[in-house]
């Protein structure tokens, strides 16, 4: 009983340590990665969803709807 509790404490400390350690390392890795990417592989940092909405006008909507319609109806 007592032994189990003490192993519980150990797992708690070890576990939180690992979670913090792993995520801290991830913070650093992301920092380095973002720096490298933004310097050497910059791309258009547009929000893709907004971009799509701008792009997709009524024409696109109709195209998609026609496509959808064809999907639902037999060919003949």
């Amino acid at each position: 009983m007592n032994e189990m509790l003490s192993s519980g404490v150990e797992i708690m400390l070890l576990g939180m340590g690992i979670v913090y350690g792993f995520l801290a390392m991830l913070v650093m890795a992301i920092g380095a990665m973002s720096k490298l990417v933004l310097r050497y592989f910059p791309d258009h940092p547009l929000n893709p969803r907004q971009h799509q909405i701008e792009e997709a006008g009524v024409m696109a909507a109709i195209t998609a709807a026609v496509h959808q319609y064809r999907r639902k109806h037999p060919k003949t």
């Binding site: 519980g8 070890l14 792993f22 995520l23 801290a24 991830l26 913070v27 992301i30």
Partner: protein, 375 residues
């Protein structure tokens, strides 16, 4: 006559045991919560229905050869929760977290709910009638991760006998996040703190969003292989979505595949809500510990955010710390709502999405730790 007797002896009325009747009532209660109260209906409706079906006496749907028996195979193999995690990965946008990586610390802090609960479950053994071994304590603790597929995956590996109760507790508390979290968040913060506005997040490039899941799976491989199934499948889904080159696979993972697996997973989780497994004092312990886990996770997140706000160059609203428990996206919405209450110009949603998705990684990491330390 013989046939009539045979038929009567095959009715539910003849075969019903009290405990089965109670479990069927539990199933109907879950259905009520799912349908009328909107408690995570995507999971609790199939789980509740599975509970009803599996407690029909003499129908044998959970016995070898029954449909729920076969479906449960997908959980036992770990395949169903991992496929759902892949789909969730495909739906997840790491943008807000990549724009402000420090929020990962909030996702880490909130996992204290998990480990404190593990200790709590072991301590609860002092109460007569409670008897959790280390594996069971770990499986219960993962409820604090506030992440359904992770909880089901870990429970199916460490304590399948508690799977039903753990899954029900995890999804119920996720549904209750808007009730559980606000009082804790208010108690630990001042109105001024809650009103803190945060700087707008920078735009994140597509390349960063593509490299991140690859980096994540690589670091997991190096340091915590026991978390690799969860984080690997999550990263796969996220990568499929971020690249845009396999859009048809990503869309299927996010829609039809996750829907099919959700139906099967829900039914088979429900099939573990049997009387013998559920109608025990321990179930009350699990439900209580689950609530405590959520509360502690929320508090740790908020306190960590307060601490970070002290030392950070840019302001950090402590409310977003509560989103570190995951429960995507409810916890982030709760943070946003409380922020708006104190300051009508305070839009925290995107800021809270960072710790929110960080919490998913955090609980998968915690799951890996438990799976490798607890035998």
């Amino acid at each position: 006559m013989e046939n009539l007797r045979l038929l009567w002896e095959s009715t539910g009325l003849y075969n019903f045991s009290g405990p089965q009747a109670i479990m069927m009532a539990v199933g109907f209660l879950l259905l009520y919560l799912a349908i009328k109260k909107g408690f995570e209906p995507l999971l609790l409706l199939p789980i509740g229905f599975g509970a009803v079906l599996s407690n029909i006496p003499a129908a044998g749907m959970i016995d070898e050869g029954g449909i729920l028996y076969y479906m449960y195979g997908g959980i036992k193999a770990g395949v169903f929760p991992l496929l759902i995690f892949m789909g969730v990965g495909a739906m997840t946008d790491f943008g807000p977290m990549l724009a402000n990586p420090k929020t990962l610390f909030l996702g880490a802090a909130a996992q204290f709910g998990i480990f404190a609960t593990l200790f709590g479950a072991l301590a609860l053994n002092a109460v007569p009638g409670m008897d959790f071994n280390l594996k069971q304590a770990a499986a219960i603790a993962i409820i604090g991760g506030a992440d359904g597929p992770t909880a089901i995956y870990v429970a199916s590996k460490l304590a399948p006998e508690l799977l039903g109760a753990i899954a029900v507790a995890a999804y119920s508390y996720m549904a209750l996040v808007p009730l559980i979290q606000p009082p804790i968040m208010r108690a630990l913060t001042t109105p001024q703190e809650r009103g803190i506005e945060m700087q707008q997040l920078r735009a994140v490039s597509n390349t960063e969003k593509i490299v991140f899941p690859l980096m994540l799976v690589f670091l997991t491989a190096l340091l915590l292989p026991s978390a690799a199934p969860l984080i690997g499948m999550f990263s796969l889904g996220n990568l499929m979505n971020a690249t845009g080159v396999v859009d048809r696979l990503s869309k299927t993972a996010q829609n039809e595949l996750i829907n099919i697996v959700t139906i099967f997973l829900g039914l088979s989780v429900g099939s573990k809500l049997s009387a013998e497994a559920f109608l025990k004092l321990e179930t009350l312990g699990i439900l209580g510990l689950g609530a405590i886990a959520f509360a502690i996770g929320t508090a740790s997140g908020v306190l960590m955010a307060k601490l970070m706000n002290k030392f950070s160059s840019t302001p950090i609203n402590p409310l977003i710390g509560a989103a570190g428990v995951s429960a995507v996206p409810m916890a982030a919405r709760v943070a946003n709502k409380l922020g708006l209450e104190s300051n009508p110009h305070n839009f925290l949603l995107m800021h809270a999405m960072g710790p929110n998705v960080a919490g998913v990684i955090g609980s998968a990491v915690a799951a890996g730790v438990l799976l490798s330390l607890v035998h």
